[in-house]
Amino acid sequence: MIQVRILLVMMIIGAAIAIGSTDLICAIVALGVVGLGISLIFLLLQAPDLAILQLVVEIMSLVIMIRAFGMKDTVNIRERRFIATSISVILMGFFLVFSMAAIFEIPRFGSPLMKTSLFYLRNGFRQTGVPNMVSAIILDYRSLDMLGQVVIAFSAAIGLVLIGRKKIHASTANRAEREQK
């Protein structure tokens, strides 16, 4: 599909800008280009649920990262490390070569192996009564996985509160001290 290729090239350019840019706001917004491009690709590859989810998640993470990092210094850490850079580039070349060898072994783009999925697609509506097969799988067949995901999201929220609470307490204590003075 030519649209997917064009969007992928756009996302690669956005990722290169996000990695190479010296301005932090520019880097975070370029990361947003990658996330929104992936949302469009999900829509083109017939996954509308994922496109909506990815759009919301991308905007949330963009807002959080700009709020967290936008006020800080635009730290510009220039480094010249030819040996480390060249070794990393050679390793990534090896990774690309071996991944191409693996890609030629898996089924071609556009003709997937669908043994389990065909079972779900043929019997899913009769067994669950849900027309949307993705919802039927994540909420009925694989609902234990969904429970694990909810536990992970909940523990992440608890961790955010536990780690970030100290900071809030410190700032309020400072304000109380200033008011006393």
Binding site: I12, P48, D49, M65, M100, I103, L121, I138, Q149, K167
Partner: protein, 114 residues
Amino acid sequence: MVEYFLCMVLFCLGLYAILIKRNLIKIIIGLAIMEYAMNLFFILLGYKKGATVPIFSSLTEPHPEVMVDPVAQAMVVANVVIGLAVTFILVIIAILIYEKYGTFDIRDVNKLKG
């Protein structure tokens, strides 16, 4: 094939940021790019040429043979939410490091160096 290769190139860009960059924010951005590339690879694997959304619009005449893979999409739904949680935790830890050391440069974060 070209789609798979471009997806791998995107993964390699994230790997480059994690290996080379010394700014904590750039490392978090590289991790996010790798996660996007992995999600995209799952969806590319599940695409069938000329197929439709895995939602039954006509319940009297279902065509399950012309639908894309719903299992890959169900896996990626879990991956996206977990990636968001990981990004939030990393951002909070980076903010704490900035408050303690005053910089995002990982060469200056050396209080634990033995």
